[in-house]
């Protein structure tokens, strides 16, 4: 798709839960939109979050190492990175619950270390860990949470009903939260994060551990929220999720930002348009070296990132079995692994 282009459609969905309950229907119109080209140059768009030289230092470790980024109003901005890269720490600083130790961080133009209440009242947070209140039902969870924002009772009840409908949880209204499935808990946490009608929604791994149906429903809802003008900041380990949802993203590692940009640009820049995968044999290596083509070794496979996949594949087919050569489009996962390596973390 070209920048600024829009693709729309409807999807039928149906989800069955243990116990026989079921969610089904036709989704609202879903639009997938690539970010307009102007995002890249224009500076007039209001920035919701501005970080400059941001640092978070713990006793023996620099978790966030002098990073800078801007999140613009109305965009979906992603933080990707291996475990321990500093994503969650950055999120916690934005949420004003973990004070920065250096640099500046402004949310809605206010300093996070001095305007916590003002910022937090306009923020919705979906934490990584499920921290719903086990002493209450689904509906009461929303009401109790609304009270923390000082939302009047009647208003809170109205919003809670609407949010249960929005996240398809009406049937579970009076069920204790420990009886909910993982997907329902996640949806309730998102509903809870929306109780104060936030302008900025922060999601730390919103679809962790969910089945595909639940993930799709959540993606759809996040898209709805963006369409209403909300700004979304999220972390995720699912790179397809990032590619699908984020207008722009950063990839972090060891507390630093490695790259920043729209997913499509990052793929083009760091992985090329396509990947040719081929089994690793001396003949293949010899041919690639002869052609002067760069390649990466991955286990017993070999990857060539290229904008001319057909030419590369044709050359390789001459030296090996045809079923050993695969051509596929490059993905964000390729970018991620190239930049952060394949070594296991933690």
């Amino acid at each position: 798709m070209l920048p600024g282009q829009k693709r729309c459609g409807r999807r039928e969905f149906r989800q069955t839960y243990p116990g026989g309950s079921e969610d089904r229907g036709v989704s609202e119109r879903i639009c997938i939109r690539t970010p307009p080209q102007t995002y890249l140059e224009e500076q007039t768009i209001e920035d919701v979050i501005v970080a400059r030289d941001l640092e978070k230092r713990f006793e023996d470790l620099v978790a966030v190492d002098h990073i800078a980024f801007r999140v613009r109003k109305g965009e979906v901005f992603g933080f990707l990175g291996p475990n321990g890269a500093g994503k969650t720490t950055t999120m916690k600083m934005i949420q004003c619950i973990s004070p920065k130790t250096g640099g500046t961080l402004e949310v809605f133009g206010m300093d996070v270390n001095t305007h916590q209440r003002e910022i937090k009242s306009r923020l919705g947070v979906v934490p990584q860990e499920t921290n719903l209140d086990p002493d209450f039902s689904t509906y009461r969870n929303l009401l109790v949470y609304a009270r923390y924002f000082g939302i009047p009772k009647q208003e809170a009840e109205q919003r809670a009903e609407n949010l249960l409908a929005f996240m398809q949880l009406e049937e579970k209204r009076d069920v204790r939260v420990d009886k909910l499935s993982g997907g329902m808990k996640r949806r309730l946490i998102i509903a809870r994060a929306l109780i104060n009608a936030p302008e900025l929604l922060i999601l730390d791994e919103p679809t962790i551990g969910l089945d595909p149906q639940a993930r799709h429903l959540i993606w759809e809802r996040l898209r709805n929220l963006q369409a209403e003008g909300n700004t979304l900041v999220l972390t995720t380990h699912y790179l397809d999720e990032a590619e699908r949802l984020c207008d722009r993203l950063v990839i972090m590692d060891h507390g630093k930002i490695l790259v920043e940009g729209p997913p499509a640009d990052l793929i083009r820049e760091h992985a090329g348009s396509d990947v040719v995968e081929v089994e690793q044999t001396p003949k293949v290596i010899a041919r690639l070296t002869e052609l002067g083509v760069n390649y990466d070794l991955v286990g017993d496979m070999l990857q060539v990132f290229t904008d001319r996949p057909h030419d590369v594949a044709r050359e390789l087919l001459e030296v090996c079995r045809h079923e050993a050569v695969t051509v596929r489009p490059a993905t964000l996962e390729d970018v991620f692994l190239r930049l952060t390596g394949r070594r296991l973390r933690e």
């Binding site: 916590q116 209140d133 000082g150």
Partner: protein, 259 residues
Amino acid sequence: MSERLIDITGRVKSVWQRNWDAFLRTYQVNFIPPFVEPVLYLLALGFGLGTYIESVDGIPYPVFIAPALVSISVMNSAFFECTYSSFVRMYYQKTFDAIIATPVSIDEVIAGEMLWGATRGMIYATLMLPVLLLFGVVAMPSSLLLIPFAYLVGLLFAGIAMCFTAITPSIDALNYPSFLFITPMFLFSGTFFPLDLLPQPIQYFALAVLPLTHVVGINRAITLSAYSPMNLFNLAWIAVATALFFVLAIRLMRRRLIV
């Protein structure tokens, strides 16, 4: 973060209210101890063991221990609410994390927990009073004062409890203050026998560091409707200690939770 000593606004009520709502949801269970406890103690100690003790300082034994029973119940309900229960909410349920993502500050969360612990102490004192009245071991109407005073006492023990909760490495380690602080206090604070039976140094020790001594002193004055100048000292000690532990608990919790 905020450099103020403590940062508390009216939002503290929403934290208190959360615990009140949860308490009401299970009120059947919560209302049993304050009715059953005084009956058991009065029957076993007051009227059982008490038949061998004619009187203590001229007071019938059941009447002597009645104010101690209220003191102990308020202490236990506030202390255990703000140790084990608060720790569960903080560590296992992540309720504190959920709340501080809203405009409620961590100071307000901790203050709300302590005010709730105090409320629980007051509820227990209130529920015990009719039982003690039935046994005819408390003077009226002066004993109505037990109720507001229970709030202050509850706040004192909630504050002490919250300090332990703030520094405990695990829920098991909370057994230390329970057995090494609460249990001795239960026995050696002029509860079941007068303090002056103990050797002089231990009496001073009790007055200096066992808060329950001061609580029992005042509660006994209230139920007998017989006050002494010593009660002023008791009250001053409790007021100062309550304020100190309240602030200390918040500061310790900030250190634990803000990273």
